[in-house]
């Protein structure tokens, strides 16, 4: 009896299993622009991944509420991967069969894995504010779009900001700057640029890796207490950020001297620390917390007021929420641009969207129409520049909210460009890719 019921259960399970597992490719939507949404709402990085995902999905809903992309409605599906690379790849494989427009994995590890796969499947990979820095060179990385900024931009702006505080980049000579970073491709990404800058300006760079997930940093901060670096750059993600700030408080390191990357400058990172993080600054990916922007007001009126909001209402406009929202916006605008060339009111394929993303031109007026006035600077991409905008500014936590505390900085192309070119050339040689020529770019 026991055996029989077990066998029955197994049979039912296996039938259901094969049905569910085989199904994804079966139903591809025909008339809707499909956006796969890779998210992590659970796991060690869930608290940071959730607002991003909510913003991303909310924006897609907002576009639908406004009538779609020239009439084409957007459909989307979330896939949870808990920041694990292999689960992310599985999600990619699952969702790409449904006619994916763009992928935005919000994980440097998954970006590295997908960089190999995207060209084969002809799906663009938008990595707004993360991913491989050298993928800015679109001639080699046809399918990668690190829009709005790469880590090298972030690192460059960080050094410029510190230099400005000391009264000029030449004053950095002899200073000691510590980089506390997440020990992963994400955290290592800025190191080459910082080393380059250290050589240029004569400051010493101290590298302090923190192992995943970053809850144990006592030794790191003891070293900081001993070495007393003039500044600490924080390159963390998730719980590592708040732990760093708490340890800084516990070892008495002044928070005013700490500067985070844009992934270490959001509400989940500091809220828990509260007043203990007062004075801590972070680079922003252009935008900060934007509760007063037009797009947020639209969002509240057109999506949340109708009870269709994805997350809680008070989260709308927070830093990571805005990051998700902007990531969705650039992807949607890529599709809109592609429609200009391939036919308005049609569903764009990944390949067509790629052209749209590569020829993106969002000037002040276009941004204002979308409700991003004062949030973003113009974005213009090209074949050789898949980033579109090298600008960033700094915001500071006052114990309750983030406030902008600096002017705009522009990453120095004289430093950045040679590094991008040499790294991408190296990649091209390794992978036997022939970079596109300017003529090919025009197609």
């Amino acid at each position: 009896m026991k055996f029989r019921s077990l066998a029955l259960a197994a049979a039912i399970a296996s039938v259901g299993l094969s049905a569910a597992v085989v199904s994804p490719s079966a139903h591809a939507q025909a008339k809707e622009q499909f956006f796969p949404v890779l998210v992590y709402r659970t796991g060690a990085y869930g608290p940071n991944g959730t607002p991003w995902a909510n913003g991303y999905v909310d924006y897609l809903k907002l576009v639908n509420a406004k009538g779609g992309i020239n009439g084409v409605k957007i459909s989307f599906e979330e896939c949870e991967f808990a920041y694990a690379t292999d689960r992310g790849v599985e999600c990619y494989e699952r969702l790409k069969g449904k006619g994916a427009t763009v992928f935005q994995p919000l994980s440097t590890g998954v970006t590295f894995a997908l960089t190999e796969k995207a060209p084969v499947d002809k799906i663009p990979l938008v990595t707004a504010g993360y991913g491989r820095s050298e993928s800015q060179n679109g001639a080699v990385f046809d399918w990668n779009f690190p829009l709005l900024g790469t880590y090298w931009v972030g690192a460059d702006v960080a050094i410029q900001h510190l230099g400005k505080q000391y009264g000029g980049l030449d004053k950095l000579k002899g200073k000691k700057i510590a980089l506390v970073y997440h020990d992963s491709p994400y955290g290592k990404e800025p190191i080459p640029l910082l080393q380059e800058r250290a050589k240029m300006h004569g400051f010493t760079l101290q590298l302090l890796p923190v192992a995943h997930p970053g809850v144990e940093q006592k030794a790191t901060w003891l070293q900081i207490r001993r070495e007393r670096p003039d500044n600490v750059l924080l390159w963390g993600w998730g719980v590592m950020n708040s732990t760093s700030l708490k340890e800084a408080q516990a070892t008495g390191y002044p928070r005013e001297k700490m500067l985070g990357i844009w992934w270490a400058g959001a509400e989940p990172d500091v809220k828990d620390v509260g007043m203990g993080a007062k004075g801590y600054s972070a680079i922003t990916l252009q935008h900060g917390a934007e509760p007063n922007s037009k797009v947020v007001k639209d969002m509240l009126a057109m999506v949340h007021a109708k009870g269709q909001g994805t997350g809680p209402k008070d989260e709308v406009g927070s830093v990571l929420y805005m990051r998700g929202l902007i990531s969705a916006m650039v992807a949607v605008e890529g599709v809109r641009k592609a429609q200009e060339r391939y036919g308005k009111g049609k569903v764009m394929t990944g390949e067509q969207t790629r052209w749209g993303l590569e020829n993106l031109n969002l000037d002040d007026k276009a941004l204002a129409d979308l409700g991003f006035a004062g949030v973003l600077r113009p974005i213009q991409t090209s074949c050789t520049d898949h980033m579109g905008s090298p600008w960033a500014r700094i915001h500071t936590w006052d114990g309750a909210k983030w406030n902008f505390s600096s002017d705009w900085y522009q990453a120095d192309q004289k430093v950045l460009r040679p590094m991008v070119m040499s790294a991408s050339t190296r990649y091209a040689e390794e992978k036997k890719i022939t970079p596109r020529t300017p003529e090919q770019c025009k197609q």
Partner: protein, 309 residues
């Protein structure tokens, strides 16, 4: 010199925190022979319960008294941990009596998954705060003795004190109370204990419940330090070398082991780390435990393993 002392003290206090988690492992292994990999998940679960109860109680009380809210939350979380212990005994342990160690270990991993899922479903998966009024700023002492003084983290110091008190209470509980004696009897020999009328099942509930309370205390201390979120479950991995170094069956071993590991990993990270690129403390703790194991395969204070043919 001052810095060395500082690192030493930091290591000792970190070690006490590891001991708190390690204690949970030891208690359960002693009484039921189960190597409980779910201890980390229990810490997370208890901390989540505590954080949310205190938040809710605070709202219900109108935000008047944080102390009262925390007290209610502590009691509430204690009851939750008791229920968890009871369910685990009922549904899992009772059905797995006399199975091999590896099977039991896997079962606790299964429990860990369930606890993580249930905890986050009920209490939410974001970052929550436990505010028990721990001081956050450091104090500098002995400034006359060493240059720059010795910095002591008050929060860690209090946490270490609490851990020490908890160990004292547990030792008394095991040595002096009838229940404690019954637990020790079960630990020594299941069958003999049963034959003199000690109910096995109830004993297991009690010991899992005690481990749950230990997890709660660990959860409060770690949670107040780090914020309550998913990564709290990973502190268990930091406590494992402590457990095997001290011996799986020894309460004092968990403490001594914790101190050795804490000091060892902090000193290694600070003095050795910079030469090899840093980030060595995790594996160094394990390697240190391994070195001790090569000399005493049952841990420093573990019961001697006797092989009979």
């Amino acid at each position: 010199m001052g810095f060395f002392v500082e690192t030493l003290i930091g290591g000792l206090m970190a070690g006490m925190l590891y001991s708190l988690v390690a204690l949970g492992f030891v208690l359960i292994f002693k009484a039921s022979g189960v190597f409980n990999f779910a201890q980390g998940a229990m810490v997370l679960f208890a901390a989540l319960a505590m954080a949310r109860f205190s938040e809710w109680a605070n709202i219900a009380l109108g935000g008047d008294s944080l102390f009262l809210a925390n007290l209610i939350a502590f009691l509430g979380a204690g009851v939750v941990m008791f229920i968890v212990a009871w369910i685990i005994e009922r549904l899992v342990l009772r059905n797995l009596v006399n199975q091999e160690g590896a099977t039991l270990l896997m079962a606790t991993l299964g429990i860990a998954y369930v606890l993580e899922g249930v905890g986050q479903t009920i209490f939410g998966g974001q970052i929550y705060t436990i505010d028990v009024g721990m001081p956050k700023d450091p104090v500098i002492m002995f400034e006359s003795l060493f240059e720059g003084g010795i910095m002591i983290n008050k929060e860690d110091f209090i946490a270490a004190l609490i851990a020490a008190v908890l160990v004292g209470v547990l030792t008394l509980f095991f040595q002096k109370t009838p229940t404690g004696r019954a637990l020790r009897a079960v630990a020594d020999d299941h069958q003999a204990a049963q034959s003199i009328g000690i109910p096995l099942n109830r004993t297991w509930v009690i010991v899992w419940c005690v481990a749950g309370i230990v997890a709660l205390v660990a959860g409060i201390i770690w949670g107040s330090k780090l914020g309550v979120q998913f990564s709290l479950a990973t502190v268990a991995l930091r406590a494992l070398p402590v457990v095997i170094l001290g011996g799986l069956t020894s309460v004092p071993g968990a403490i001594i082991g914790g101190l050795i590991i804490g000091v060892g990993e902090k000193l290694s990270e600070v003095y050795l780390g910079p030469y090899v690129g840093g980030g060595i403390e995790i594996w160094f703790a394990y390697a240190l435990a391994l070195v001790f194991l090569l000399f005493r395969p049952q841990g420093l204070f573990g019961e001697k393993i006797i092989n009979r043919v």
